[in-house]
Amino acid sequence: MHDLLPLPFTKATLEHVVERVKRVQGELGVPFALENASSYLEYRQSTMPEHAFLAELSERADCGLLLDVNNVYVSAHNHGFDARAYIDAIPGDRVVQMHVAGHADRGTYLLDTHGDHVKAEVWELYRRALRRCGPTSTLVEWDEDIPAWEVLSAEAAEARAVRDEVLAPPPEERPWASAI
């Protein structure tokens, strides 16, 4: 399909996916992480929010999570849930990597495009995710309408700056700072 189709978030789907993740991890013998996809529809059958599905999945299958912060923002807008509550409900110790990216406003929905700057609201959500998960490898995804290297590099520098700002120890824990 070359597309990420959404799943109905039900107990039965959870059983189905947990079994498959365990099988893949068993075959590969290496740690495995699942990413939250951006989505544009919700199934009527769903009985639990996506974050609860992912939290239980990662716990029962003992796998990692790849937290795509832009995808959380896009899906929250498209489905009308609170992106901050989603981040707060994700098990931070399971998150092995984060993604940030740009998206496009299509009027009635947001589309995850990887073709623009990371929006201010997504950087804000990234700050929240860093506070919850701690230092985490982060990838800036920009693979459509790829700009000049300087622009890409500046976006990566922005991610580093946000990380340093959020994860810097408070002043009382760094008395050396006043000596600089």
Binding site: H2, P8, L41, R44, N78
Partner: protein, 275 residues
């Protein structure tokens, strides 16, 4: 929702997404979407939400295949005409693998049966050439062949030698010099529709990872094709001479020069004397 229901849901969504029909124009699909999908907070109807996926499927696949057939795109009249051809192709031959690089694998054979372009030999040649470039780009790598093997091999061992060609090598016998057309298009030069001319091409990825199309004489082409089948060199030379109705001695005279070209170009992966 059991496993069977999940499978049915997946089949429904993937069939609709790959379909040619605008979902909202089909009452049955719209009703099915409404039964499965919630409307959005912004007021999108269920079928409109599913349509986002259908639109993205076609955009992604058409954008991907656009880049894979530059020569054919020019031959059929440009990007708009190619989009029409590619849309028909993707409807008839939906993607079969996870790999977008393989998306055009059936386009040369689809084109041969196409009512508009199937009778245009230049279009068929262009499709085969473009696809050979795609295959050469993605072929597995192998360590460079050590040409010292050639110098250190006793003369009487050569007839039994089997020549393994590099995995990226593609041999094309065409009716037009479409490789010149592709190169001119790539350089942004003005081009004209080429006339018919028997053309034997070796498409390959060179040691520096550049894709090349090299025209070779028919006799060398015959020999390469036979060697690729695992036939020992002596037998392959005799077979090539028979097929091309040439004197085997003529091949013997040219073999040294050909081997120099083949080793320098990275066409040879290994020479085996294992019988």
């Amino acid at each position: 929702m059991g496993e069977r229901d999940l499978g049915e849901l997946q089949r429904f969504v993937s069939d609709v997404v790959r379909g040619a029909t605008l979902i909202g124009s089909d009452a049955a699909l719209t009703a099915q979407a409404g039964a499965l999908i919630s409307p959005s907070p912004s007021g999108m109807a269920p079928h409109e939400r599913l349509e986002v996926y259908r639109e993205q499927f076609w955009l992604r696949h058409l954008n991907s295949i656009d880049e894979d057939f530059p020569t054919l795109t020019w031959v059929v009249g440009g990007p708009v005409a190619f989009r029409g051809l590619a849309t028909g192709y993707l409807r008839a031959c939906p993607p079969r693998t996870w790999d977008l690089q393989r998306l055009g694998i059936d386009l040369p054979s689809y084109l041969a049966g196409d009512a508009r372009w199937g009778h245009d030999p230049l279009a068929r040649d262009a499709a085969r050439l473009d696809w050979a470039f795609m295959e050469a780009f993605d072929a597995p790598d192998s360590p460079p062949f050590d040409p010292r093997v050639l110098a250190s091999t006793p003369e009487d061992a050569w007839p039994g030698a089997r020549i393994d060609l590099h995995a990226s090598l593609r041999l094309l016998s065409l009716g037009h010099p479409v490789h010149d057309l592709r190169e001119a298009l790539s350089a942004g030069a003005a081009v004209e529709r080429p006339g018919a001319a028997s053309t034997h091409l070796v498409i390959h990825r060179d040691p520096a990872c550049f894709l090349r199309a090299v025209a070779v004489e028919p006799l060398a082409f015959e020999l390469l094709e036979t060697l690729r089948g695992g036939v020992p060199l002596g037998e392959a030379c005799e077979a090539a001479a028979r097929t091309s109705q040439r004197d085997p001695l003529e091949i013997g005279d040219k073999l040294g020069g050909w081997f120099q070209q083949w080793t320098a170009g990275g066409w040879i992966r290994a020479v085996r004397f294992d019988g």
